[in-house]
């Protein structure tokens, strides 16, 4: 975990675990699915930079390298073939990886203090020294990103190349992209570029073009231009992602109530003993042994 970055939020930590040092601008990755050519240079760059194990290609009946992300494959272009409403053919491709949510469901679900952190710059990262590999983050993620690495018994996912960002570099995937459909900068800049691109697409006939930055998770650290924004599911994206209700109900309602109830029952038993006392057996309390 980079030492130079201040932490905004940390899993299972009191008051959110903020370290409160050094304000940083929030960063984001920009993905334009309309200019992506599916060359997979980003996939290779990710494997190379992060020294991930070689994962053999798995035939899926399309150009896609494998069915979904793995613990050793954090960046995957998802290919999908669709029909638009006029019967026209669409060949869509979107780079899938951790979305670095402003409100990360993985972090909310994580029980290990400090195992999932969100830096002041918005990057969401797994600290393997604290991760216990329980997989709760899988249940917390609305994008199906974290993977269990059986070799290390830890969770793993895209770090947004925090080790590069920390020293002023862009993520490896962005560095490798030949079309400029990937860009990296402050969130504000990336949103501005994205909005301008959406206007351009609308003017050119893609009336439903949008910038995918879902408000349900407070926005994401990966903003994605979708040519057919009315169908995010065509790109493998949820329409309205949230921190799951199951996780909220668990952490914010059931757990505090449960703690009250358990401590309350101990107090109740003590109170009963003081006000009602024990039921002693009668006259032949033989030999007085308990």
């Amino acid at each position: 975990m980079p030492q130079g970055l201040a932490i905004r939020r940390s899993s299972a930590s009191l008051w959110g675990g903020k370290t409160g040092l050094r304000k940083l601008p929030v960063v984001a990755k920009y993905i334009d699915t309309t200019t992506c050519i599916g060359c997979k240079a980003c996939e290779v760059a990710c494997q190379e930079w992060n020294d991930l194990k070689v994962v053999p290609t798995q035939q899926t009946g399309s150009y896609q390298t494998m069915p979904s992300l793995t613990a050793d494959y954090w960046n995957l272009i998802k290919f999908s073939e669709r029909e638009d409403k006029d019967g026209g053919f669409l060949w869509l491709m979107r780079k899938d990886q951790c979305m670095h949510c402003e409100e990360p469901g993985c972090l909310a679900a994580c029980p290990a203090p400090g195992a999932i952190v969100q830096y002041e710059n918005g990057i969401v990262d797994v600290d393997p020294t604290c991760c216990i590999g329980c997989g709760y983050c899988i249940s917390g993620c609305p994008f199906d990103i974290p993977r269990f690495d059986a070799g290390t018994a830890k969770m793993s996912k895209c770090t947004l190349c925090v080790d590069r960002v920390e020293v002023g570099q862009g993520p490896a995937c962005v560095k490798a992209c030949p079309t400029g459909c990937l860009q990296f900068g402050t969130k504000d800049d990336m949103v501005a570029i994205g909005q301008a691109r959406v206007e351009q697409l609308k003017a050119n006939g893609l009336s439903q073009a949008t910038l995918y930055d879902p408000p349900g998770v407070g926005g994401t650290g990966v903003v994605t231009v979708l040519g057919h924004g009315d169908h995010p599911e065509w790109y493998g994206l949820p329409r309205d992602p949230h921190v799951p209700w199951g996780v909220k109900l668990w952490k914010q309602v059931l757990r505090p109530l449960g703690m009250l109830a358990i401590f309350g029952s101990v107090l109740g038993a003590f109170g009963h003993f003081m006000t009602r006392g024990p039921t002693e057996p009668g006259e032949d309390a033989e030999r007085g042994d308990a």
């Binding site: 290990a112 329980c134 709760y136």
Partner: protein, 226 residues
């Protein structure tokens, strides 16, 4: 007069019999099953509670950290379930629900805790104990089923994972409360009860007070018959 050695020898194999001045309530194998289940329950508790909330993070240090807890917890849970099954099978015969027992779901339990309940018909187990027995069996099953989902989250769809988490949590909370009262009643509120589960024997006075129907069966009826 029965010597202590004779009592211990008899309590290895016999149950529900008078030996000298004491009554054997639980034979050795029953007690061993009970304490095995209790041990696995507490290992599961100490390894699970720090994963539940950092408030109990200190428990993790007893076992060597949160990573150790994560490894131990599911296996301790499995052993707890296996022990619970054994216990259920062994005790089921004594736990048949009788007409009056259902009232323990309601005010009868409150009257009992208020020391205002004197039921001369109470056999080896009262309605409250039977209720605890079936609730614990159901709880063990709930913890197992939801625990398997939590153990292997990648094998289940998202909705099942959330239900699993909530079920595991809710069942644990209810179980923990039940165990608090179980221990309170056995150790503090009703003196001379714990020995039934350690040495296996209880005094006649204890049996007359808490289980008069069982006392008659064990002490008076054999005498009438014999």
């Amino acid at each position: 007069m029965a010597t202590p050695d004779l009592v211990f020898d008899r309590a290895r194999v016999a149950e529900d019999t008078l030996v000298g001045e004491v009554i054997i309530r639980h034979r050795l194998s029953t007690r061993v099953i009970h304490w095995a289940v209790a041990l696995f329950f507490f290992v599961s508790l100490v390894s699970g509670a720090p994963i539940w909330t950092p408030v109990f993070g200190w428990m993790a240090s007893l076992l060597g950290g949160l990573n150790v807890c994560r490894v131990i917890h599911p296996w301790a849970g499995l052993l707890f379930f296996a022990g619970s099954v054994l216990m259920f099978v062994r005790w089921r015969g004594d736990m048949r629900i009788e007409p009056g027992d259902r009232q323990w779901l309601g005010l009868k339990s409150v009257r009992y805790m208020d020391h205002k309940e004197a039921d001369v018909a109470v056999g080896k187990y009262n309605g409250g104990q039977k209720l605890f027995f079936y609730a614990a069996a159901l709880g063990a099953l709930g913890l197992l089923v939801s625990g398997i989902v939590l153990w292997l989250p990648m094998r289940f769809p998202q909705l099942v994972r959330w239900v699993g988490i909530l079920l595991h949590d809710a069942t644990f909370i209810l179980f923990a409360i039940a165990v608090v009262f179980h221990i309170y009643l056995a150790v503090f509120a009703e003196p001379r009860t714990l020995r039934a589960m350690t040495r296996g024997t209880v005094t006649k006075g204890w049996a007359r007070l808490h289980h008069p129907g069982w006392y008659r069966e064990v002490v008076e009826e054999p005498r009438e018959r014999g």
